[in-house]
């Protein structure tokens, strides 16, 4: 798949190739992440939407493996940062060191300069270090000593956090959460998948041996192509109605931001292309809205006391906002 091909006017014909490649990537990753097709696809959607993914789950369910499998499948460079309370921002972004030979400061890039960055247990990092990610996640560049240093494209942060062991952690602030396109939970594999993992362990495909399905350029082209997927005007309305409804819900203290609308729009375009469509349908929006919106919402204390969750409220909103006619009911 080349840039020329994607630049051709007949996107209808090319979207088939997009879907094919997307399916191949997801299938490749699924060889090591068994029984988690949906999560794999969501992660791929994040990558192709140029978004970032927050994985919240217990240890040992394949969060890091997922990040590595994605990186391996697209022939991308990946790094892993283990967040600890004593981690410094410069440990993430890199430092400028004086070179006596040249009598100049030279920038030594940190681990953030990779295509896929796994920020493991991000909530264990100090707020200062967490905030070091803010700029790079949104603007895809790091300012060191006043100089912007761009990160490579594609760029995706896959952060993980453990929801169980919360002692000594620093919950991610709203601004940080808002920068993640999606928040998903890996969950335990089902019985059959877990058995398949065990039986394939001695000789099964390791992450390091995963074949490369697409190159970095291919991924960049796919990102560009997805951004041109057609969205009918009523769907813009529908999307904004959904986001607006979260702001008016009595159980929600802080609704979704316009950044959420933009993020959802990017994601649904990719989902449409991945399904082989050159246009977005309401089903795309309804499918992705819980993953894209829920983690950005702040519930009222009363709603939390009643045990309501953000995912429930998003589902409630989706059940209330009318789908544009005439496809809806």
């Amino acid at each position: 798949m080349t840039a020329e091909a994607y630049g051709a006017p007949d996107a209808e014909a090319l979207v088939g190739r997009f879907a094919q490649l997307f399916g191949a990537l997801a299938g490749n990753i699924e060889r090591v992440i068994r029984g988690k097709r949906e999560n794999v696809e969501l992660a791929m959607l994040c990558l192709l939407s140029e978004g970032h993914l927050l994985l919240e789950d217990v240890p040992g369910v394949g969060k890091t493996t997922l990040a590595r499998a994605i990186a391996a499948s697209v022939d991308a460079q990946w790094t892993r940062i283990q967040f600890t309370p004593d981690l410094l921002p410069s440990d993430v972004t890199g430092v400028s060191i004086f070179n006596q030979a040249t009598s100049k400061f030279e920038f030594h890039p940190g681990p953030i300069f990779a295509n896929i960055v796994v920020a493991d247990e991000i909530n264990r990092g100090s707020p200062k270090t967490q905030s070091a990610l803010l700029e790079v996640m949104e603007e895809r560049r790091v300012s060191v000593d006043g100089r912007p240093q761009p990160v490579p494209r594609p760029f995706m942060v896959i952060a993980t956090q453990n929801p169980v062991d919360m002692d000594g952690t620093y919950p991610l602030p709203e601004a940080q959460l808002d920068r993640f396109l999606m928040k998903i939970s890996m969950g335990y594999p089902d019985h059959t998948s877990e058995v398949a993992v065990l039986t394939g362990m001695p000789s099964g495909p390791a992450v390091d041996h995963l074949p490369k399905v697409a190159g970095r350029d291919d991924v960049k082209n796919m990102i560009d192509f997805a951004s041109r997927i057609h969205v009918a005007p009523p769907l813009y309305d529908y999307l904004v109605h959904i986001v607006a409804a979260t702001r008016q819900h009595p159980d929600i203290r802080l609704g979704a931001s316009p950044r959420a609308s933009l993020a959802l729009l990017r994601a649904v375009r990719v989902r449409a292309a991945a399904a082989g469509r050159s246009y977005v349908v309401p089903e795309d929006i309804k499918a992705l809205a819980p993953h894209v919106i829920a983690h950005r919402l702040m519930l009222t204390p009363e709603a939390e006391l009643r045990g309501r969750t953000a995912a429930e409220l998003v589902a409630e909103v989706l059940g209330r906002v009318p789908v544009p006619q005439a496809a809806g009911v």
């Binding site: 349908v281 309401p282 789908v323 496809a327 809806g328």
Partner: protein
């Protein structure tokens, strides 16, 4: 085209039904004495009688049981048949002439003649050469086609497009038009169609049956309709009814089995029967007044007759008095009435007349016809510069020719639909009333609802109790009329007061609001007839006298029956409604000093002069009786002037409509979904057709419990359908994809996609129908939800 519920049920599995036996039934079965079918008036056709037909083996004659067959009816002779057809045409013509109370005879006659003769000829010509009747549907087709052709060519002069609409609206137009209705095609089409119907059905009955009187039934029915529509019209239908009776009797004679030689006797007897009907008809006891359907039909709402009230033009006309408005040739100079304004809202006077289309004749209300004497006035108007839609004429017009008008039956005011044009001419015949001083002297104000409405005197908008103006008028009116015993005397006193106290002055302050009238009455005391008349009306209404304001013109300049009316001749005068007398004009406007001499204008019409004299005499007579010293005891509440409108009780409508409700519902619930489906399937663009297919599918799924939530996507609906009705998901999913593509894709769908969508919809409909029991299917088909689209 089938709706999903209309889908044919699947073929029931099982053995195929046994084939019909090819052989004819045994001879025994055929010979059980059944009478042969009625061969019709032309006698038995070839191969249908005498038992020679049949595929069974013939049996020896000796073994056949002796069967006594009924003798075949004799064929009707051509002469009798022809005569019967002629009588049928005459019957239809007579029935059509029943409309002569609705239309003038010269209008309805030719139409009825054609409508009575042509369908009979058509039926006869089609059937005669073959000596047997065509199938009924062909006859119906020919009749309808012939009617459309003849109506389009003869009545509408080739404009076939308006026939349907005219026929649909004609009954209402007739019921809301004053009789005799004008002979316009859109009104004549109803009697024409009914007559045609009577003639065609009568002729077909003659040709297809041997009944004697049945062919007369359609004509009698049509005559009944004519009677109903003609209630209250001029003339009588008694001769027509007698003719109908006579012709029906002739038909029975002609269709009878008697010998031809006796026919003249029978015809003579029929004619005698008709004559008896003529003389016996009026003697029959009639209970009450006939039901008039016009009382049950709401007249069209009053239209805004003119953008500018003629009362508001008065001041401008008087400022430029030499503008030539119209000329009139008349047998007597009269005041030419233009508009009657009977509603006052505190600021403006408007007309509350119900204007209905009228022919040449303008019927008079009861109190006018009851009045003993009147003078006939013939006028011929030629319009020059008179603006607006109000048509000048002397009160009270009885006929008008040369101009299509609408008329307010209450006041007799004429208007046109289009504004008057220069050069238009028309002739009016009026009956100018003669007044009797004795009647006037004892007259008391009317108290019927119409009159009470004419006593309304609301305050100006925004007026509060503190600055109310009406009480001041009431006080002044009480002072003026103190000591006057009868309503008429109070009315006359008011006019005298204004004439004596105030002066005519064209330069006076124009307008007729309370404030302007207050200024006119108390300060300036100068004004035109606009102020005099409206001040009179306000004062009179404050006393409870029903009063209205009339705008018109004086007779104009000229003589010898020819008058030029100019804008300066405009005159406004009030009229007061008295019990038994109706609206009586008063003229409170004093004559302008030297105006008549200066302009050569005739100061007042004949009727005005006579009326003023009668009013003076009445006042003098009353004064002579000492009536002014002792107020007369109030008379008992006078009888209402008009026969009160007897509204048909609601329960009669309800009980008449009740049996119709289930029928209407059944038709609607079965037909509306079919029409909706057809509209959806034949939409203009493929995208609309796909959307229509989806709507149809959703309606189908609603019947199996699909919630009416608006937040379901197409695939969610498809999921529901798949879970609810087995086998539908394989159609619903592709259909949902097609709908999504049509709705949200950049490229519009092609016709093939629309076809595919409807194929899926049809399949879904069949599957949903198949999944339900016949009872449930019927229940769904009759469910009220099918009445409305989603």
């Amino acid at each position: 085209m089938t709706t999903p519920d209309d889908a044919p049920p699947p073929q029931a599995p099982g053995p195929p039904p046994a084939p019909e036996p090819a052989a004819a039934p045994p001879a025994d079965d055929r010979s059980k004495g059944e009478a042969p079918p009625d061969p019709g008036p032309y006698g038995p056709g070839p191969g249908t009688a005498h038992g020679s037909a049949g595929n069974g083996p013939e049996r020896p004659a000796a073994k056949t049981p002796p069967v006594r067959r009924a003798p075949a009816p004799r064929p009707v002779s051509a002469v009798r048949l022809g005569l019967a057809l002629v009588v049928t045409a005459a019957l239809a013509a007579a029935a059509g002439l029943g409309f002569q109370r609705v239309f003038a005879l010269r209008d309805i006659g030719p139409v009825v003649a054609v409508a009575a003769v042509v369908p009979v000829l058509l039926s006869a010509l089609v059937s005669w050469p073959r000596r047997r009747s065509w199938p009924l549907w062909i006859a119906i087709l020919l009749t309808v086609g012939g009617w459309t052709l003849v109506t389009g060519l003869v009545l509408f002069h080739g404009d076939f497009g308006v026939i349907g609409g005219s026929l649909r609206d004609s009954w209402k137009a007739i019921l809301t038009t004053l009789m005799p209705a004008p002979g316009r095609p859109e009104l004549l089409v109803l009697p024409q169609a009914l007559t045609w119907f009577a003639a065609a059905t009568g002729a077909e009955t003659v040709l297809r049956s041997r009944t004697k009187a049945l062919p007369a039934l359609p004509s009698v029915t049509v005559f009944g309709v004519a009677l109903l529509l003609g209630v209250g019209g001029p003339g009588s239908n008694l001769p027509v009814a007698a003719a109908l009776v006579g012709l029906a009797a002739v038909l029975v004679v002609v269709r009878g089995d008697g010998r031809a030689g006796r026919a003249p006797v029978g015809v003579a007897a029929a004619v005698a029967l008709g004559l008896v009907a003529v003389f016996a008809g009026p003697l029959l006891p009639v209970a009450g007044t006939p039901y008039d359907p016009r009382q049950s039909v709401e007249a069209p709402p009053p239209e805004q007759r003119d953008s500018v009230s003629p009362l508001d033009r008065v001041s401008a006309w008087l400022q430029t008095p030499d503008q030539q408005m119209f000329t009139v040739h008349t047998t007597a100079p009269e005041n030419w009435r233009l508009a009657v304004l009977d509603r006052f809202d505190g600021v403006t006077w408007t007309s509350g007349g119900n204007f209905v289309a009228a022919g040449n004749r303008i019927p008079a209300p009861e109190h006018v016809t009851r009045h003993r004497s009147s003078t006939r006035v013939d006028q011929r108007f030629t319009i020059q510069n008179l603006p607006g839609v109000w048509v000048p004429a002397a009160d009270r017009p009885t006929t008008i020719t040369g101009l299509g008008v609408t008329v307010d039956p209450g006041s007799g005011v004429l208007t046109t639909v289009q504004p008057l044009r220069t050069g238009q001419t028309y002739a009016v015949r009026s009956a100018a009333r003669d007044y009797d001083a004795d009647e006037l002297a004892d007259a008391e104000p009317a108290r019927d609802p119409e009159a009470l409405a004419a006593t309304s005197l609301p305050e100006s908008p925004g007026t509060t109790a503190a600055n109310a103006q009406v009480p001041a008028f009431h006080k002044l009116a009480e002072q003026i009329t103190a000591g006057q015993s009868t309503g008429f005397l109070r009315a006359a006193k008011l006019a005298d007061y204004l004439r004596a106290t105030d002066k005519y002055d064209v330069s006076g302050l124009p307008g007729h609001t309370y404030a302007q009238l207050q200024y006119f009455l108390t300060r300036s005391k100068r004004g035109t007839s606009e102020q005099f008349a409206t001040a009179y009306a306000v004062l009179a209404r404050s006393l409870g006298l029903p009063t209205r304001v009339v705008v018109g013109f004086r007779p104009g300049v000229g003589g010898d029956g020819e008058f030029q009316v100019r804008s300066g001749d405009v005159l406004v005068w009030p009229e007061v409604d008295f019990t038994g007398l109706g609206w009586v004009p008063f003229y409170p406007t004093p004559e302008q000093q030297g105006r008549s001499q200066k302009s050569g204008s005739v100061p007042a019409g004949d009727t005005q002069q006579k009326l003023e004299q009668a009013q003076k005499n009445a006042a003098a007579k009353n004064k002579g009786n000492g009536g002014s010293t002792q107020p007369k005891q109030p008379t008992p509440p006078p009888a209402t002037k008009k026969t009160p409108h007897k509204a048909t009780p609601w329960w009669m409508y309800a009980s008449a409509a009740a049996p119709l409700i289930p029928i209407v519902y059944l038709v609607a619930v079965l037909v509306l979904p079919m029409l909706r489906r057809r509209r959806r399937r034949s939409a203009a663009t493929p995208a609309e057709r796909i959307a229509g297919a989806w709507e149809q599918t959703v309606e189908t799924l609603n019947a199996v419990g699909l919630p009416r939530a608006t937040s379901l996507t197409a695939h969610e609906v498809a999921g529901f359908g798949g879970r609810t009705v087995a086998g539908t998901e394989s159609h619903l999913r592709p259909l949902a994809d097609l709908v999504n593509r049509a709705e949200y894709a950049e490229r519009p769908p092609d016709p093939a996609a629309a076809e595919a969508a409807w194929r899926h919809t049809d399949q879904i409909g069949r599957l949903v129908a198949r999944a339900a029991s016949p009872l449930r299917r019927a229940g769904r088909r009759l469910h009220p939800r099918r009445l409305r689209a989603r």
